[in-house]
């Protein structure tokens, strides 16, 4: 039930509890209670909206930064990751295997703002050894959903 509920909500958080209950063969009360539990357990961590900002007339720059850091004794990478993700510009932080340690995805209004964040905030941190900043040119797909125009239903209106 948990898995099926989460899968049903994964791509569309707007489906009402009543509809979810019908589709999963449960009751509205049970679904509402389960969602509450999942929120309390931080399994469901939020309900953001997937926006294609490229279509909105406002400046917005996204960058992916590869960061090499020195882990701290007893705390590993968690402490430094936390210090980084607390900045409101930071959208995502992942610990990576391979050639660098942290992927930091940040957004800003301008290139300058992003560059300033890296040079003034991120790079000078003691634990940060190096950074490599890559700017995003175009987003095609996010959270499993294509950001390009959805193709319309090409099926015939009636078929046997």
């Amino acid at each position: 039930m948990r898995r099926r509920l989460l899968e049903a909500m994964d791509k569309n958080s707007k489906v009402s509890a009543a509809d979810l209950a019908l589709m999963l063969g449960s009751t509205e009360e049970e679904v509402t209670a389960l969602i509450k539990t999942l929120e309390d357990e931080a399994v469901i961590c939020g309900y953001p909206t997937l926006i294609n900002w490229d279509k909105v007339e406002c400046e917005r720059v996204t960058a992916l930064i590869e960061v090499k850091v020195t882990p701290q004794r007893g705390l590993g990478f968690d402490r430094i990751a936390e210090r980084i993700y607390k900045f409101h510009e930071v959208q995502s932080v992942y610990l990576m295997s391979g050639g660098f340690d942290l992927t930091v995805i940040i957004t800003g209004k301008t290139l300058g703002e992003v560059a300033n964040f890296v040079s003034a905030k991120l790079a000078p941190m003691d634990a940060v050894q190096s950074t490599a900043t890559h700017f995003v040119l175009k987003k095609y797909k996010e959270h499993g959903l294509p950001l390009v125009q959805e193709s319309h239903d090409e099926r015939m209106l009636i078929s046997p």
């Binding site: 099926r4 899968e7 049903a8 569309n12 489906v15 509809d19 019908l22 589709m23 999963l24 063969g25 239903d153 099926r155 015939m156 209106l157 009636i158 078929s159 046997p160």
Partner: protein, 387 residues
């Protein structure tokens, strides 16, 4: 000038669905719940394999009965999913959709005057294909009170000494009805006792909810008398690829391959390569689609019953079959008015046989958003016309 047409073809009525299609296609902004195909795109890894086969220059005929690797995968699949065991070399043919398999199976099994039992409401092609093959269609009317299942008594009531073939159209289009193991047990017994053959159209076998599909060919003594038809259209959302198959006794299959060879040559080569990928790695896709359909199915049954259109719970395919009798309209009246007044297209039950009168086929191969808009409009319509 002499009449250019054969007597046989003029006996075949044009499809009832065609007539309604012409009405619908004039309504440009109608939303439709009328299609008989999945709303999902073919899973990308399957499409990719089709593209790859083109890149590799796989643009030639395959052997008449299909690529060996595909036939092996088909037999593996049927064993894995339904416990059916067939020889890929002598008991398997790859066809251009399940529809071709229906046609050629009837053509190789019927002598002029042989009777074919066709349970209706059902898919539109059994009746005309029987006539084209020189057979005589004998319709068995499935009843709402039996959840549109076929019963032993109905078969016994329709059998004559000319009866040769029983069509088994389950999971059923348009009713969504399925036949369970217990339902089939009695039917299997009658088939053997009366020395009948079965053409079992199992194209919706992957789309059953809450219980697995049971093939009538899995009963003792039935494999020898059954041609099982299946395909990729519904399970893997591959309608446009035109890829289906049939398995059955070698003596029947040998003759089906002969007709197929002269009429078709072989199923599209690229589709066959894509089909291999579908059977090898497509199980998770099927499961994802089945779960999505199941959710919509429950939503739809609930909403239709709530607005006063009596709908029995179907456990297969992606259709519901609500009754509109409470409104005192015929199926066609309801469908035509609904289209004109609320711009929602559904298919009148009569398109699938006269006994579909009083019912509608509503497809749930649509997104939830689409279904909800359509349901709101249907509800408004029902409210307005309630007696």
């Amino acid at each position: 000038m002499r009449n250019p047409l054969s007597d046989t073809i003029t006996k075949v009525k044009p499809s009832g669905i065609r007539k309604f299609f012409d009405v619908v296609s004039e309504m440009k902004d109608a939303i439709s719940l009328g299609v008989g195909e999945p709303d999902f795109d073919t899973p990308w890894h399957i499409r990719e394999e089709g593209i790859y086969s083109l890149e590799k220059g796989k643009t030639f005929y395959t052997s008449n009965s299909g690529l060996k690797e595909l036939k092996i995968e088909i037999c593996n699949y049927l064993l894995r999913r339904f416990g059916l065991s067939y020889n890929f070399a002598t008991e398997t043919i790859v066809t251009v959709g399940g529809s071709e398999a229906i046609d050629i199976a009837l053509r190789v099994m019927l002598n002029p005057g042989d009777e074919v039992l066709i349970p209706q409401p059902s898919y539109v092609s059994y009746h005309p294909c029987t006539i084209l093959a020189g057979g005589v269609p004998v319709v068995i009317e499935l009843k709402e009170e039996n959840d549109f299942k076929l019963t032993k008594e109905q078969i016994l009531g329709a059998i004559t000494d000319k009866t040769k073939i029983l069509i088994m159209p389950f999971p059923n289009n348009p009713t969504g009805s399925i036949m369970t193991y217990d339902d089939l047990k009695d039917i299997a017994k009658v088939v053997i006792e009366k020395d009948l053959f079965v053409i079992s159209d199992e194209i919706y076998a992957e789309l059953t909810y809450g219980q697995d599909h049971v093939s009538i060919a899995s009963f003792p003594g039935l494999k020898e008398r059954t041609v099982v038809i299946n395909g990729f259209s519904k399970a893997y959302a591959m309608t446009g690829w035109r890829l289906g198959y049939a398995v059955g006794p070698a003596n029947i299959l040998e003759q089906m391959i002969k007709v197929h060879q002269f009429a078709i040559m072989c199923a599209p080569t690229n589709s066959q390569y894509a089909g291999i990928e579908a059977l090898k790695n497509g199980d998770p896709d099927v499961q994802m689609m089945r779960e999505a359909y199941d959710g919509r199915r429950k939503l739809l049954i609930h909403a239709l019953n709530n607005m006063g259109l009596k709908t029995f719970e179907p456990f297969g395919a992606f259709y519901v079959f609500p009754s509109v009798k409470s409104l005192g309209m015929t199926s066609e009246e309801f469908a035509t008015k609904l289209l004109k007044e609320e711009k929602v297209a559904v298919v009148p039950g009569t398109a699938f046989g006269d006994c579909g009168e009083g019912f509608l086929r509503i497809s749930y191969a649509y997104s939830i958003d689409n279904l909800k808009i359509a349901l709101e409009r249907i509800e408004k319509f029902v409210e307005r016309h309630k007696k």
